[in-house]
């Protein structure tokens, strides 16, 4: 089933993409565009070269490093706080207003603040990424905890599972669907914020590379790096999509067989 689907390629879609690239190539070669837009072939060559000689590929490593640390930190913090807030009413009451105050602060507005305290290094970026990824995860964990079947908790209590053990064995697994939804939202936001932070004030990473190349007026590598961010986003998205289906395999969305 899955293999058949894999073989079924979206022919018109891919043809359209190739068509666009060809038209772009021709117009650029004929000099109809400004000199600020090199032909795609030159961009792709620059991308290939950058990936092979390590100029671009080393920046992917830096970007993913900050990205995954930030996302992991945000997940741990948000899930813990979310489960506590969802389970214990006083905890929710205590943090509710703080959350409502902090959440609308756009994460990019935190960049100057983070630079002030943490400088321009990786820590600063990780802090901003964690901040950005924290909120969607927290909110959807709360919703996940809210949606728990009360009977499940009652059954657990009958078996003498209470307190921390109940949180670990009943609440966490039940809230997992909600958590995974939030996780994917956060994963998308985290990538945007990673690249943005690097662009504004990084000292490594793809975003930093893009701004460096822009200032050095080396346009093909700049465009190559921008294209690469899209590819990276697409791959991460597909990866988390599959991960989601593996982890919460019982939900209707995961069971929706390719039609």
């Amino acid at each position: 089933m899955a293999r058949q689907k894999l073989l079924r390629v979206n022919v018109p879609g891919i043809a359209f993409v190739i068509g666009c690239i060809v038209v772009f190539e021709i117009t650029a070669r004929l000099g109809w565009l400004t000199s600020y837009v090199p032909p795609p072939s030159i961009i792709f060559v620059a991308l290939g070269q950058g990936l092979i000689n390590g100029e671009i590929s080393s920046q992917i490593g830096a970007t993913l490093h900050a990205y995954f640390i930030g996302l992991a930190l945000a997940t741990c913090l948000a899930v813990t706080l979310g489960i506590l807030m969802g389970t214990y009413q006083p905890v929710q009451d205590a943090f509710k207003m703080v959350v409502e105050f902090m959440r609308p602060v756009p994460s990019v507005a935190m960049i100057p603040l983070a630079i002030l305290f943490l400088g321009l290094g990786v820590q600063m970026r990780v802090a901003v990424i964690t901040y950005a990824a924290f909120w969607p995860l927290l909110i959807s964990t709360l919703y996940g905890v809210r949606g728990i079947d009360p009977q499940a908790l009652d059954v657990a209590r009958n078996f003498g599972i209470t307190g921390a053990e109940a949180l670990w064995r009943v609440t966490l697994p039940s809230a997992l669907t909600g958590i995974m939804t939030g996780f994917r939202v956060s994963a998308t936001i985290a990538l945007v914020v990673t690249v943005t932070t690097e662009l504004i004030a990084g000292n490594s990473g793809i975003g930093f590379y893009i701004s460096q190349m822009e200032q050095a007026n080396r346009l093909p590598p700049m465009y190559a790096a921008i294209i690469l961010t899209g590819i990276l986003g697409f791959l991460l998205n597909a990866m988390f999509f599959q991960l989601d289906r593996r982890i919460v395999f019982w939900t209707p969305a995961a069971q929706d067989k390719p039609a």
Partner: protein, 279 residues
Amino acid sequence: MSISTRAMAAQRQADLPAASIPQSQRTVKGTVLSIATVVIALLAWEVIARLKHSVYVPSVTQIAITFWHEWFSATFRDQAVPSLYRMFFGYIIAAVCGVTVGVIVGYYRFMFRLLDPVLQYWRATPATAIIPVGILLIGIGDEMKILVIAFGAVWPILINSADGARLVPRERLETARVFGLTSFETLRRVVVPSAMPQIAAGMRTGLAIAFILIVVSEMIGSTNGIGYYVLQAQRTFAIPEMYGGVILLAILGFTLNTVFVFVESKVLGWHYGQSARTR
């Protein structure tokens, strides 16, 4: 691609960030507790800031005074108004293009298949990465920001509108055919109304992206605007001003979202009421 587009669409719907934290029963004790936490946090900040005399952490009162002086004056006109109108125009362009193209793309199956890879790609690209291209091609004026915002915010709106139009229940389309509606009439009277909740969801995501883009584009290439103001304040060590700018951004973000949710509930109230009844 081994993922069915329908599953992807379902996933996208689930991926929309929730509007706020779930409502719980309000108790007097709970409300007191939540206000108390905020008050205690602010007091702790004030006390620590006064004791430590750190340049980086001005006291709450100092930030509040600076905020008052800065933003209830000409600074608001010079810095906040440009940001708001750039964002407004960029967002309007994105909304109009996104909804129009999205509904058409979703309605005609072939168009959807044709454009699907392009849409997937741009949706995955971090929107801020195109700001340097905008600066190169257009410069650092208002047009650059408006276009960058339009370009960044258009994809979620377009994709959600396309999903909404694509997944209109078949009965509705068949009913339209029975009544002899033309293609255009079906689009206007059946497809668009049915896709409204999805369109609204896409527009909400688009608004959040537009807000990020205006701040970032002003940080990277601008001579005014709130993003410029905040980064400049940090670079010149005008620390209370920086905090004030961040707070203003928070207030604006909160207000924009609240206004959007309010308008959405007014415009789409009939829709949600109807689906709740049939459910």
